[in-house]
């Protein structure tokens, strides 16, 4: 059993939990993830390590309520326990080292939490960082201060224009690339699949290397099932052990989107049933 030490609601339907998990906290690196199973009947769901405290032995996760498992997880509070919490899984991201050029980080939605430890590492290693944070609207923004702290240039875009620039992250990114694409070492883009796909389509035009973090559907997270498989550079990769970060220009985005829609009717049924049981 793994105890929740702290819970914070960062924005509507976006929650932070700090979990007592000393083994994972000792080893976790930016780019890696954990898999948790809330109760005996629950799914195993992958969530990125958003932060860790090696001394305290805690791991921070940030998750958005998108379906049954995440909605139910959000009902837990400090003091409650989670049945299983395993990790760190996946390969630590291999960026962060000092580059001669600038590094651009683009986050969308809950991707902000995923990108944060990476941005921090990139900045702490002496890089010039440009960060673009995107969200649907102002109220869904979180951790902007944390991102800004590790960014030399920081931009916010909202779809509805309620904060920062009105539009998509790609609008801001396009301006940056148009002005100084030769100055950019690489782009790291983490967020919803459509966002990552459009970022990749854009950076490809400018031939700027782009990394993405793929949230494929997983079961074990150890390379045992192949649920997370995805074509990258015409080769099948397992996102849980070969990733989750890949060269975004090599990802077969159509297949990625199709594969992530595999269980939509069941996901819907499960959520509706749960809400009915909860009287929602």
């Amino acid at each position: 059993m793994y105890k929740i030490l702290r819970k914070e609601v960062l924005a509507p339907r976006i929650n932070l939990m700090e979990i007592d998990a000393p083994f994972v906290a000792r080893k976790g690196q930016p780019g890696q993830f954990i898999i948790l199973r809330m109760r005996e009947y629950s799914e195993r769901i992958p969530l990125t390590i958003a932060d860790f405290d090696r001394e305290k032995g805690t791991v921070t996760i940030v998750f958005q309520e998108v379906g049954k498992s995440t909605e139910e997880l959000a009902t837990l509070n400090a003091g409650d326990v989670i049945a299983d919490f395993v990790g760190p899984l996946g390969i630590p991201s291999d960026h962060g080292r000092k580059e001669d050029k600038k590094v651009v980080c683009v986050s969308g939605g809950v991707g902000t939490a995923v990108i944060f430890p990476e941005l921090r590492k990139i900045k702490e290693n002496g890089n010039y960082t440009i960060t673009i944070q995107g969200s649907r609207s102002k109220e869904l923004l979180f951790w902007s201060d944390r991102l800004e702290k590790y960014s030399d240039e920081f931009y916010i875009t909202t779809d509805d224009g309620s904060f920062g620039r009105k539009g998509f992250v790609t609008d801001q990114l396009k301006d940056i690339l148009a002005e100084k694409s030769d100055d950019i070492a690489y782009v790291l883009a983490i967020g919803p699949i459509p966002m990552m796909k459009f970022v990749c389509a854009l950076t490809e035009q400018y031939s700027v290397k782009t990394y993405v973090s793929l949230n494929t559907i997983m079961v074990d997270g150890t390379g045992m099932c192949g649920s997370c498989r995805i074509t990258v550079g015409n080769e099948t990769k397992f996102a849980c052990v070969d990733g989750p970060e890949f060269d975004g220009h090599l990802v077969d985005w159509k297949e990625m989107e199709d594969r992530n829609s595999r269980f939509i009717p069941q996901e819907r049924e499960s959520l509706e049933r749960y809400r009915k049981l909860m009287g929602k």
């Binding site: 083994f23 498992s69 192949g226 199709d258």
Partner: protein, 463 residues
């Protein structure tokens, strides 16, 4: 001498038309009367050849004699003196190529149903007599780490605990049992049986730490730093093989590991009471010819498939599955497309598989495995409609644990060991089971684990 009874006593089973709709155990177990009659079929050979066929060398006539005498306590004690998981082995051992193949009766008649009798005494102990514990040696004050809670890991841990070692099992998943739990379905091996056998190992003093992926959460070197003086790797062969043909990543195409793990470990057949989904369409193709193939095919049926085909590139004779399982699958209405192989999958615009292009095969010269090599018959291609595919063509050891471990491996990714002791190329690290042999059997994994337990004892006593 009494007259030889040529045939095995019939095993009571659930009716095929009934059981294809549920996950309850198919084989119900011998009744006391049937068990007694079956036990009497054994000739009590002075040189019992059956024992040679058992990788853990159970005294087969010995325990059968006790059944005839009505001493079931005595019978189970004999079995458990060499096999700590008898209720499991009695259910899943491929007896026809092991103990029963070597039974003298097998030459002319049906062999003694050794597996069924083994299951009978194990079930009888658990349900009627209560499980007794063996003597555990005085603590040696030494710690041993076992990686993986499958049959190999459980056996090695149990044996070492009996010798007085302090053993901790580290398991990547959230539950014990390895393939027994996530692979073999409830209708062939109920979870309650695995629980009981795991419980036995725990009662010997073994500690289990779940949710620890060795190679990620902790490395082998860190285990040594934590004070474990020897390590046993029983990590199995969990990496699914694919065919690398076009369309293999289409929706509706699963590896057998994904299909069975969703169903068994995650209990998708109880969806939506359990959260994990499993989608099964109307026409299901399961590729392969082993136990895994039969399990996946029968699982698909139980999840509501209308028609399930096993597609195998060789002929029935070469099928590696247990005969009993092939027979059960047929009874349940599984269709066998033999000498047939897929060459590509055809999907719709949303990425779901709709059809398979297949080719007919014929058997040519024997290959390195001694089986006749299947060769495609040119021009025999045809297209068949399938909306679900399960690929059950084999697995190899998962490389995760080997990361930076410095262990010698073969080109198939299996770990190289010394056959006498089970020790790998690194002193203090031992291995056994599927991680050494590639996908094999429960009883072979247990046999290898026993050798390694003795090897570890020798290694640690010498120090």
């Amino acid at each position: 001498m009494a007259k030889i009874v040529p045939k095995k006593m019939p095993m009571p089973e659930q009716d095929p038309m009934e059981r294809r709709k549920n996950f309850n155990e198919v084989a119900l177990g011998l009744t006391p009367e049937l068990a007694l009659e079956e036990a009497k079929r054994c000739l009590q050979c002075p040189n019992p050849t059956c024992i040679e066929g058992c990788p853990v060398e159970i005294d087969i006539p010995g325990f059968i004699k006790k059944i005839v005498e009505g001493d079931l306590r005595g019978a189970i004690d004999i079995v458990k003196s060499t096999n700590s998981l008898p209720a499991i082995c009695g259910r899943v051992c491929p007896q026809e190529t092991q103990c029963e193949e070597k039974c003298v009766l097998a030459k002319k008649f049906e062999p003694v149903a050794i597996g069924r009798l083994e299951r009978y005494v194990a079930d009888y102990e658990r349900e009627k007599l209560g499980v007794t514990m063996p003597d555990v040696a005085q603590s040696k004050g030494k710690k041993v780490a076992v990686v993986g809670a499958g049959p190999a890991g459980l056996t090695c841990a149990g044996d070492l605990a009996k010798m007085g070692y302090q053993v901790t099992i580290f398991e990547a998943l959230h539950d014990t049992g390895g393939v027994l739990r996530y692979g073999i379905p409830e209708f062939r091996l109920p979870n309650s049986i695995i629980d009981a056998e795991v419980d036995y190992v725990l009662k010997l003093g073994v500690e289990v730490k779940l949710d620890v992926v060795i190679g990620q959460t902790l490395t082998l070197d860190e285990l040594f730093e934590m004070g474990y003086e020897a390590i046993f790797l029983g990590t199995g062969a969990g990496l699914p093989r694919f065919m690398n043909i076009p369309g293999e990543n289409l929706n509706g195409i699963y590896s057998a590991n994904e299909f069975l793990t969703r169903n068994n470990l995650m209990r998708a057949y109880l969806f939506p009471e359990y959260d994990t989904p499993l989608w099964v369409g109307e026409r299901v193709a399961v590729l392969g010819g082993g136990n895994v193939t039969m399990d996946a095919a029968r699982t698909a049926l139980r999840n509501g498939a209308k028609e399930v085909h096993v597609i195998y590139r060789r002929s029935r004779k070469e099928m590696p599955a247990r005969i009993e399982e092939i027979h059960h699958a047929e009874e349940e209405g599984i269709i066998f497309d033999l000498l047939t192989n897929p060459i590509r999958y055809i999907g719709d615009e949303k990425g779901w598989v709709k059809q398979i292009e297949l080719i007919k095969m014929e058997l040519g010269e024997p290959d390195e495995s001694g089986r006749r090599r299947p060769v495609p018959i040119e021009g025999s291609n045809y297209i068949a409609d399938f909306d679900t595919v399960v690929i059950a063509i084999g697995t190899s050891p998962n490389p995760l644990i080997m990361q930076g471990a410095g262990l010698e491996t073969t080109k198939w990714g299996t770990v190289v060991i010394d056959k006498e002791t089970g020790m790998t190329s690194r002193p203090g690290i031992f291995a056994g089971g599927d991680v050494v042999t590639g996908a094999a059997t429960v009883i072979e994994a247990m046999g290898a684990a026993k050798i390694a337990a003795r090897g570890i004892d020798k290694y640690l006593s010498r120090q």
